[in-house]
């Protein structure tokens, strides 16, 4: 059992005990219990992610209204592996995530890898990633990220993992995986080598690259793919970059996001799960809920502007703790279609962003600036 697991198991146990007591309690008892919970949080020595526990409590205090979960998925994302073998700190972190999802009981129906398996798209980085991901016990679905792609434009990645765009049905839900990190050719005119191109795309705060997009080809494919799907069928779309416009300068961005969203609007229940941003991130546009995935390698700070107001912000992470702000997580697909997103932060309390709270569309409190 990993350190993170142990911590979470302890926490879960204490929390369940407390939730038992919460049934039928009045407001005053509730508040006192919430206080005790906060004290318990302090006592466990982990950093509270935010003042989110109370929101969870409101939700948990009325268990009879909690919609049943149909099935659970897990994710690992943004491992950014270097060609330095299993002893590199990012490789060890990726292995921790694999242990985490393998320890889940019951096991998830499948595990999604959210992209950026490699750091600089090198063949041995991708091979190392494949080797680590082979350890995952549950069925695995792999998505591509820009760090995997721009050294050889996806040649090695496709050899290892197949096509980057695909869809399937699972227990009444239609799943789609997109390659949302397509960039217009900025390298030929500048005479860049493959490595220069890769390093440019790998950087966040340079203006030398194009912006991410899904592109007309995949949008056409998506339109055709979705034409076969009943509008009442719940949709879950996985993309590496957020399928909305968050912060252009760091490519926390998909340039044709609106065009992709238009294809998703006709469906009743749509969830987009994305990687790339390495942080807690929540958004909602009309019927589409968006959730970010955690990275196992490092957390990104929040961008200076454009942060979706629903996002419950992670406090600044502790640079002295390699695992702070990192982690993996699970996705609970409810029987009625929407999902609850669980963030398993390695050095903090686990946090759930429930569909009920985001569909109420209340802006979260403003967090610290970065």
């Amino acid at each position: 059992m990993t350190r993170g697991d142990k911590q979470r198991a302890d926490h879960e146990q204490q929390r369940q005990r407390l939730l038992q007591q919460l049934r039928n309690c009045d407001r005053r008892t509730f508040l006192s219990l919430a206080g005790r919970y906060a004290a318990m949080t302090v006592a466990t020595g982990v950093v509270a992610p935010h003042s989110f526990q109370l929101v969870e409590f409101v939700y948990a205090a009325t268990p009879e209204t909690k919609p049943e979960v149909a099935f659970r998925l897990a994710y690992i994302s943004d491992t950014h592996l270097f060609s330095k073998g299993m002893t590199h700190r990012f490789a060890k972190a990726a292995l921790t995530a694999v242990e985490d999802v393998n320890a889940l009981d019951p096991q998830p129906d499948f595990v999604l890898f959210g992209g950026d398996l490699a750091q600089l798209g090198q063949a041995d980085e991708l091979a190392l990633g494949q080797q680590i991901l082979k350890e995952v016990k549950a069925p695995l679905k792999v998505m591509v990220g820009e760090h995997d792609w721009y050294f050889d434009l996806g040649e090695k990645w496709r050899e290892l993992f197949g096509q980057p765009t695909y869809s399937w049905d699972h227990k009444g839900v239609h799943f789609v995986v997109l390659n949302s990190v397509v960039e217009k050719d900025f390298w030929t005119a500048k005479g860049m080598t493959p490595m220069q191109r890769m390093v440019t795309v790998a950087g966040l705060d340079n203006a030398r690259q194009s912006r991410f997009e899904v592109g007309a080809e995949q949008r056409n494919w998506l339109a055709k793919d979705l034409a076969k799907v009943d509008k009442k069928t719940p949709l879950v779309v996985f993309s590496h970059s957020p399928l909305y416009k968050y912060y252009r300068d760091w490519n926390f961005w998909t340039d044709d996001a609106e065009d992709v969203q238009k294809l998703l609007f006709p469906f009743a229940k749509v969830t987009v799960i994305h990687g790339h941003t390495h942080q807690l991130l929540t958004n909602r546009i009309k019927n589409i809920s968006f959730h970010g995935m955690l990275s196992t390698a490092w957390p990104w700070p929040y961008a200076p502007s454009g942060l979706p107001k629903l996002t419950i912000q992670m406090d600044r992470t502790d640079p002295f703790d390699q695992f702070d702000g990192c982690g993996n997580g699970t996705i609970d697909v409810r029987k009625d279609g929407p999902v609850n997103k669980n963030y398993a932060l390695w050095s903090r309390n686990p946090l759930t962003v429930a569909y009920d709270t985001i569909s109420a569309s209340k802006a979260a409190a403003k967090g610290p600036s970065y």
Partner: protein, 231 residues
């Protein structure tokens, strides 16, 4: 100051009236001609540069040629930046300057002002260009190092956690860095990052690389609101 001029004006009119009376001319304040003792003040948009035009009626617009001259003078005075400057433009077209309340000194437009007024020469455009270029060089050098994974040994570079030097908060140093259990300057934290996440060697305080990294961080964070945090 302006009120002072209004009072001076009132006194002047009174005296002038008496003079006219002495010359057996009727007392008609309304039709008074412009005289040496009349002034009109014009203040620049920064409210710090004022030209006192001697011999101009305060209640009428300046003649176009005079207005041009005043505008040119105000434009010229703008190089005193934030200083409070009063310029007297005499009827003989001489200029006297008072900078930040110092006594009036003769001044020729476009030339260096008397040293007594500015405590040294103002910066020339050439000097400012050189300084800006030097600044840019150092920040650019820091920018390169900040994005250079060869500073460390494991492929990691500073920008991977700190795009645009975000989350570095240089303005909060010196501070007691609880995790180091000691007071720290920004360079101590840079060295900590070089040794730990980057698994490299630290830089000496005088290393030009260290100075350049600091310059880049400070440049990127200039103007960002200060907000103390836990880390």
């Amino acid at each position: 100051m302006r009120m002072g001029f209004i009072i001076m004006l009132a006194v002047g009119m009174l005296v002038g009236g008496l003079v006219w009376e002495g010359k057996d001319r009727p007392l008609h304040i309304q039709t008074v001609e412009a005289s040496d003792w009349m002034t009109r003040t014009v203040t620049a948009c920064d409210r710090r540069k004022t030209v006192i035009v001697e011999g101009a009626r305060p209640d009428l617009p300046l003649p176009p040629a005079k207005a041009q001259q005043v505008a040119a003078l105000l434009q010229d005075l703008m190089r005193f930046c934030t200083a409070e400057v009063h310029a007297r433009l005499t009827t003989q077209e001489e200029i006297f300057l008072s900078v930040n309340g110092l006594p009036y000194q003769r001044y020729v437009m476009g030339q260096d002002p008397p040293l007594v007024l500015v405590h040294g020469k103002p910066h020339s455009p050439r000097e400012m260009q050189i300084w800006a270029a030097e600044y840019k060089n150092m920040v650019e050098e820091g920018n390169k190092l900040f994005h250079d994974s060869t500073l460390g040994k494991n492929g990691i570079s500073c920008d991977m956690c700190h795009p645009n030097a975000s989350n570095t908060h240089p303005e909060t140093y010196p501070k007691f860095q609880t995790q180091l259990k000691s007071m720290a300057l920004l360079r101590d934290m840079i060295n900590w990052c070089l040794e730990n996440p980057l698994e490299g060697a630290k830089l000496t305080d005088n290393d030009p690389k260290m100075k350049a990294i600091e310059a880049y961080i400070l440049d990127q964070r200039k103007g960002v609101a200060i907000e103390a945090g836990k880390h």
